[in-house]
């Protein structure tokens, strides 16, 4: 483990959110999650 940053812990936390969001996608209408996704993608491009 790096003194300043725990990469393993960070990845664990990231995966937890990935699963949270994927469940949201699975359980909500396409229009609902895709409008949120569009905001992120269109702003990055």
């Amino acid at each position: 483990m790096n003194k300043w940053f725990d990469k393993k812990k960070n990845m664990k936390e990231r995966l937890e959110f990935v699963r949270f969001w994927a469940k949201y996608v699975r359980e909500h209408p396409d229009k609902e999650w895709s409008e949120q996704q569009k905001v992120i993608i269109d702003s990055q491009l």
Partner: protein, 205 residues
Amino acid sequence: MPSSKNHLNLDRIPVRMEFLKDQSIKMDKVLNKLDKFVLDFVKVLKKHTDYVIVSGYVSILFGRSRATEDIDLLVPKMQEQAFLKLFKDLRTGFECLNSLDPKKLYQDYLCKNIAIRFSRKGKPIPNMEFKFAKTIVDYESLKEKLLVRIGKKELFISSLELQIAFKEIVLGSDKDLEDAEHLKTVFEKHLNMHKLKEYERLLKK
């Protein structure tokens, strides 16, 4: 009194992605800039060749909360004349970032298994990374491709099981592991676990 049909207002019923009996997936997503780019590109491409979209965009198509600058595309090896026709057709809306000379692209890039990139004219990002299938895994992606329908538009993507196994075993970066986890969670009840294990075994060799 409104009729039951009007009262129901079918346009307002929320729709979730679903697997259909013909092994395709139907979605009703709001298209982002990346989706529009991909759908416009494959609309031209499909008139000339078989294809499959692989890697990161597959996860993004199904909701992953990230963008990408390139989309990976596999095409079975084409004859030079067929590629020249495709190139001419693509030039109506896209440009190749590697060269303007299609013969050079075919001989010095594609035939040497080097990918070429197409983007919308004057906008290098996002771009389509175009290459000929080479490995057994590339051909498996083409053979086991999945049709995705978004309204009246459609595209072919690699099988979800192959995507997950490839990202977890071959690629393995944090981003790839997250992409794989996303697909596993979204399609939890639809994945063929036997197929997934088979791909894992193949890719570990």
